[in-house]
């Protein structure tokens, strides 16, 4: 595998057929450009998003359902605009309240498939999983989901501290981990624990129920969790009931600090004194400590390594340590994550890792959409497919995010579902991939004389240089079977040939080669 192919397989969602901006043979400059991705969608993506019509089914008080096909109108709304939707939702099934989340899901398929800023999309997936929230756990989380997605997108290549702060203050995270409901009288520890265990310091730094604070060991104890929960009391969402510092009770869905539910006592965290009466700044100070901690650098660097290089660091491998150093050196800087990714991109560990990663369900599906070269209809069949693979988009049920290693995605059921989904996604009947002269199917279906020549043309495009002889001969046989292209009737009929080529693309997506990246 060439270095360019390796870069394509890891820093994009896979090769796109007829890609107008493919990864060049010398990818360093491409990668630098990707690191500087603009925050706004590319014009080609914006144009496609504008064409999406997503069904909305509402029910009224009598239970009568009405389905309309509507464009995506919530993606760029502010938290205040999103918050107002829930109160104004007159549908009996609260479909209008969940609509914002539905639109982010639809947009994710389009962006992943077509954005030329693929690194931005890959890192957005990475951080959504790092700061994992189940978008549909409650209506409040769902209605605010575009705002949460904006936070993740904006921070994906920037400063970790900035993203951590924005995540901590977002309504979706606040409600998911119950920070919005935490009060001084009896603090809710959910967010305080998970921000340390999952988002920053990591389980390796957890010292358990030891009563002493863990500063000396560079870790955190349950006492630190309890005290962090106290520090963060008052951090909440303006829901119309919480009292802001000026005595008002705003209902905007924005973050507010509410002094009258804040624990005003002095605290000790990680052996450091948090003096009484500092208010919101106590929480900011806590996030500063966490974001700049070597444990956090280790957590993030290891996770990036596992995502982009291989499941387990090899002995003598220095890449994680080098990324940790870069993370700490650039802490707080606007290019912090970019610097860390540069280290990874330029490392010998990355260069030597071809074929070491298995595609996650999302990577599997989007890579199939991309290689088809087709326009994508981001409809419920795609979400259904991803759910079938055990990984519905933005719906991991626990805050640890989904696993990123081969063993998690290669069980019996995983394999069987991948094989069947490959056929379903490519079949014309599911209407996911839209026929057009620019598709892979259409190119191949022109002027062919034998099944084997179809495979010869198609397989390198789908499976690259990794194609094995056993897979190659298996495809030849399958293409020649009556099921695909075997009868002269199929080869002689352009419509049937197109269907046959679609089915063959589905078969190629089921091969061992297509499962790795």
């Amino acid at each position: 595998m060439s270095f360019s192919d390796l870069v394509t397989s890891r820093f994009t969602f896979g090769m796109r057929f007829n890609d107008p901006q493919p990864v060049p043979s010398a990818p360093a400059a491409w990668f630098n450009g990707q690191l500087a991705a603009p925050s706004a969608d590319d014009a080609s993506v914006t144009a496609r998003l504008a064409q999406v019509m997503l069904p909305l089914t509402t029910t009224d008080a009598t239970g009568t359902a009405t389905t309309q096909s509507l464009p995506l109108t919530h993606l760029t709304l502010t938290p205040e605009q999103l918050w107002a939707i829930q109160a104004a939702d007159t549908s009996a099934n609260t479909a209008l309240t969940r609509r914002p989340a539905d639109e982010v899901v639809a947009a994710a398929w389009i962006r992943g498939s077509f954005s030329p800023w693929q690194l931005q999309e890959v890192m957005t997936d990475f951080w959504h999983n790092h700061f994992s929230v189940d978008a549909y756990q409650s209506n409040t989380i769902a209605v605010m989901w575009p705002a949460y997605d904006q936070v993740i997108r904006a921070g994906a290549l920037g400063s970790f501290r900035a993203m951590l702060g924005a995540v901590a203050k977002s309504a979706s995270m606040m409600y998911y981990l119950n920070q919005a409901q935490s009060v001084a009288k009896q603090p809710n520890e959910n967010f305080a624990r998970e921000v340390m265990e999952l988002h920053t310091l990591g389980i390796a730094r957890y010292l358990g129920e030891t009563a002493s604070a863990g500063a000396e060991a560079g870790g955190y104890s349950d006492t630190d969790v309890t005290n962090a929960a106290r520090v963060l009391t008052g951090w909440t969402i303006a829901d119309g009931n919480k009292v802001a510092a000026d005595g008002s009770k705003p209902a905007t869905g924005d973050f507010i600090f509410s002094p009258n539910i804040h624990d005003t006592g002095a605290k000790t965290l990680f052996g450091q004194a948090f003096p009484a009466g500092v208010g919101q700044a106590e929480g900011e100070h806590l996030l500063d400590i966490l974001a700049n901690h070597p444990g956090t650098a280790q957590t993030v660097a290891t996770k990036l390594y596992v995502h982009f290089v291989q499941d387990v660091p090899a002995p003598g491998d220095t890449l994680v340590a080098n990324m940790v150093q870069s993370f700490l050196l650039n802490a707080g800087g606007a290019t912090q994550i970019q610097q860390v990714l540069q280290i990874l991109f330029n490392s010998p560990e990355f260069a030597a890792s071809a074929g070491q990663k298995i595609k996650t369900p999302l990577q599997f599906l989007i890579s199939l959409l991309r290689v088809s070269g087709a326009e994508v209809n981001p409809q419920s069949n795609l979400e259904w497919g991803l759910s079938n693979l055990g990984a519905p988009l933005f719906q991991w049920s626990t805050p640890n995010g989904m696993p990123d290693i081969a063993a998690a995605w290669t069980g019996t059921n995983d394999m069987i579902r991948r094989w069947s989904l490959a056929s379903q996604v490519t079949a014309a009947s599911t209407k996911i991939l839209v026929d057009a002269p620019t598709t892979l199917f259409a190119q191949i279906a022109i002027g062919l004389s034998s099944p084997t020549s179809v495979v010869t043309l198609l397989a390198p495009l789908m499976l690259g240089s990794q194609l094995s002889t056993s897979t190659s001969s298996a495809l030849d046989l399958y293409a020649a079977s009556s099921e695909i292209l075997g009868s002269k009737g199929v080869l002689g009929d352009s419509t049937k040939l197109l269907a046959g080529v679609r089915a063959l693309v589905g078969a190629m997506a089921a091969t061992p080669e297509f499962q790795s990246r």
Partner: protein, 405 residues
Amino acid sequence: MLVSRRSLVKSVALGSLLAASPAGMKLSFAAPSSSNLLLFVLLRGGMDGLNLVAPSDDADLFAARPAALRLAASGTGAALPLANGPSSNDWRLHPKATQLKTLYDAGQLAFIHAAGIPASSRSHFQMQAFAEHGVVDQISLNNANGWMARYGLATGLGTQNFALLSADPTLPPSMSGAAMAISMPTPSQFTIGSAARTSFLQAAYAGTTGTIGTQGRVALNAVGAFKTLSAGFKPPASGTYGTDSFSTALSVVAEVTKLNAGLQLAEVEFNNWDTHVNQQGRFASSVATLSAGLGSFMADIGSSGHKVTAIVMSEFGRRVKSNASGGTDHGHGNVMMVLGSGVKGGRIYGKWKGLNPSVLDLGDVPVTTDYRSVLSEVISAVRGDLPSGLFAGFTPTPALGLISA
């Protein structure tokens, strides 16, 4: 998960466990006429055992929690009385657990209270990993297969189709390391399609090395075997099981058991127990599902002539004192369950120290029974073998007497 599962495959214990394989164990695929199934149910999220099985008259519990998070002895929604508690208190079962009450009264369900993982951790993910790997510390975790996989490898079951089954979409960590473990959430979709397509996949995966190749071949073999086994199978009447995912998973375990597929170990998980806020309604709903699911499953299996023993646990219990959001935070000791026709049920086992703050473990129920005691005792009594080193470093304590001789 915070632990690389791939690293777990390289178990240092594997060789010694294989050497400990009991003589005479059939290593080839053979479908016995009836199963002797061990089912492990993991309640993920930290089930609040004090809201499921508790002393309803404990003054310390009154002081620590509002009525909504306790079991009432009288009035509307009164909890169900349980005989043979571990103290002289008025022990009760959550009012929605009616089928569990029936099983308990019939002597087929035992509770073990103040049980759990003797580790000083309140992390969901670390403690779930401990429970699934049969360990109690992070270093052991990094070097272990799942405990069901270790059992399967030590007894030769790990190389048999359908000996180890997960009825959830993905394989649980407890089975990581057992190459032949099967995940099958939906039997009707456990298919590949046409003969041409099957031949294609078999040829494509025949020579592939690595995880994908191995797992592809396991799946292809399993699909073929299941097709033969399931021919003519008649599913139980509609309504036998609830439509929730927990009941559905249990129905799949029952189906594979009844197919005489050779099923020996199964796991089903049940999420959504992490009740930091508004616990009362959510918990009641989950308890109802748990109770109905297990009740349906035990009845279905019981009428089939197969033998099943189920162990139910959560990674930890919850704090004795509630928080201000109508919920409870992460705790420690908890109630475990063992169900089956061979269980000496109708009794709450375990050493109960009460809930006075002076006896609590930093505000939590102290663990007085190591969960590995329960696992070892049940495996040993029900399966008739406890491979040496299955729970390395653990010295079994005197048996609680959970299983009839």
